[in-house]
């Protein structure tokens, strides 16, 4: 069963269109939503949560979010970039207003998380650092027994140690409690470490939605000495680098001996696919 199924999610703005976005997050998986700034990651997450009015279907554990909005949202733990709400209120006041919405609220677990995250409920939101705000949002989301965590760039603004700690917590949740996770990020090293699947969005369209391993196995990174070699090899998204040119090649492509080949990372794939996309659009424009 899929924890999250998104079908044909569409949102039209005057200058941007989220175009029939479809993907799923299998139960117990961590899916990373990646793409450059303005690609539509946050719009997708807002559309899933009905923060914005969209067309298309969203189902969480098989239940339609429009038909069962209240029940479905109780299964979801949402963590925005940080906790940007009620800066003048104390964490205690916010928790008191927030917890009654969740019949499954676990005060013991919440208090344990506060200790783990070194958070004091007496503090006001404005007194928290960015990292602390993310941790507070996470503590709220985890304390009501969410089955699906949806996070919009939760690791942005966190120092490397806090990011490591965050990744550990997510992995622990998935392993011990079977939680499913969808999170958007720019920090692909976090994805390499914890994600099972990748959803790659560009210009409001899904380019890739597959297991991470499958994506990494799909391409290899080729290093060319000249642009002519790269063009001849039909490399994808060729760009100049310090020593020659780089481009992606499908894994099964036969290559000449003077081309050096290495494994790809998510960063390489994003950079070269985006470049190929840009070239395509430029060609269409002309």
């Amino acid at each position: 069963m899929n924890a999250l199924e998104v079908k044909g999610l569409t949102k039209v703005y005057p200058e941007f269109t989220l175009d029939k976005v479809s993907f799923c997050v299998p139960k117990g998986h961590i899916s990373g939503l990646i793409g450059r700034n303005g690609a539509g990651k946050s719009t997708t997450i807002k559309g899933i949560l009905r923060l914005i009015a969209t067309e298309g279907d969203v189902a969480v554990f098989g239940r339609d979010i429009i038909k069962d909005e209240r029940v479905v949202k109780q299964m979801i733990g949402y963590v925005g970039g940080g906790f940007r709400y009620y800066p003048m209120n104390t964490l205690a006041a916010i928790r008191k207003a927030y917890s009654p919405f969740y019949p499954t609220w676990n005060q013991g677990k919440y208090e344990k998380l506060l200790v783990q995250f070194d958070l004091s409920e007496r503090k006001k939101v404005k007194e928290l650092s960015e990292g602390m705000k993310v941790k507070f949002a996470l503590a709220l989301a985890l304390s009501h027994g969410a089955k699906l965590l949806i996070m919009d760039e939760p690791t942005s603004g966190l120092d490397p140690l806090s990011r490591e700690e965050f990744c550990d917590i997510i992995l622990q949740l998935v392993r011990e409690e079977g939680v499913s996770v969808l999170f958007s990020t720019h920090i692909t090293s976090d994805l390499m470490r914890i994600s099972d699947d990748i959803v790659y969005i560009s210009q409001g369209k899904i380019l890739v939605a597959c297991p991470l391993k499958e994506l990494l196995d799909k391409y290899k990174l080729a290093h060319f000495s000249s642009l002519a070699d790269a063009t001849a090899s039909k490399a994808i998204g060729v760009k100049a680098v310090k020593e020659g040119y780089e481009g992606l090649l499908p894994r099964d492509t036969q290559i000449s001996t003077n081309v050096a080949v290495t494994d790809t990372t998510i960063d390489h794939i994003i950079v070269h696919l985006e470049r190929a996309n840009e070239e395509e659009r430029y060609a269409e424009f002309n």
């Binding site: 807002k46 949560l49 009905r50 914005i52 479905v72 207003a97 919405f101």
Partner: protein, 218 residues
């Protein structure tokens, strides 16, 4: 819904929402257009909406396990509660004034006396404000100024009309003016009519606001 209302009171109420309730004592001020008291109630709604925006409350609320259309409804129900309290306070304090002050001091040269008919007038004012302000506000809760200015202008126009009626028509200057103990039936009827108008206008306002908010992108 109850949880949303509690959250509103705990996190979104500006102190003026409660402080302005005490302005009901302005009915003791001699020769004052008492309908203005109800404008302060409208002003406190404006401050609460500002607080909602500064706190990012709409986005926070939309992520909670509630129906989206219940978010404006909860906010409006809290405001209706506060409006009910100010109407009640003006009625009670007006009656106290009538009981403790000599009859000649009860006469108001700037408008209608602080009696049941004034509460009816106040209900009409608040109903009109609700109908004008909330549906516009919930189209885009980030923009509070224009809906409030339109609502406030309508309220002051209506206050002006009530003051003119006080001097131009026998109904307002005689029948509905003065102590509650005089022409009690007519004043009670004015109160009931005002409350009915308030309920109808506020209900329409709720319907429109909920519909507009469904299309809002948080």
């Amino acid at each position: 819904m109850l949880n949303l209302i509690k959250k509103e009171i705990a996190l979104c109420m500006h102190p003026t929402a409660f402080i302005f309730l005490f302005l009901a004592v302005l009915v003791f001020v001699p020769n004052y257009p008492y309908e203005v008291i109800f404008f302060f109630s409208c002003l406190s709604v404006f401050f609460c909406c500002m607080m909602t925006r500064e706190n990012g409350d709409i986005a926070f609320s939309c992520a909670l396990p509630v129906k989206k259309e219940h978010i404006p409804l909860a906010k409006m129900l809290v405001v209706f509660g506060l409006q009910g309290i100010i109407l009640l306070l003006v009625g009670i304090i007006g009656a106290v004034k009538g009981a403790v002050l000599p009859a000649e001091q009860y006469v108001n040269q700037a408008g209608i006396s602080a009696n049941l008919a004034l509460v009816g007038n106040g209900a009409v004012l608040l109903g009109v404000f609700n109908l004008i302000f909330f549906p516009r506000y919930f189209k885009s809760p980030d923009k509070i100024g224009v809906p409030f200015v339109i609502g406030a202008v309508a309220v002051f126009l209506l206050i002006g009309i009530f003051i003119v009626l006080r001097w131009a028509t026998p109904l307002y200057s005689v029948t509905l003016n003065g102590l509650n103990s005089v022409n009690t039936g007519a004043k009670a009827a004015a109160l009931i009519i005002g409350v009915v108008i308030y309920i109808i206008l506020s209900a329409i306002s709720c319907k429109l606001s909920m519909r507009h908010f469904q299309r809002y992108d948080a």
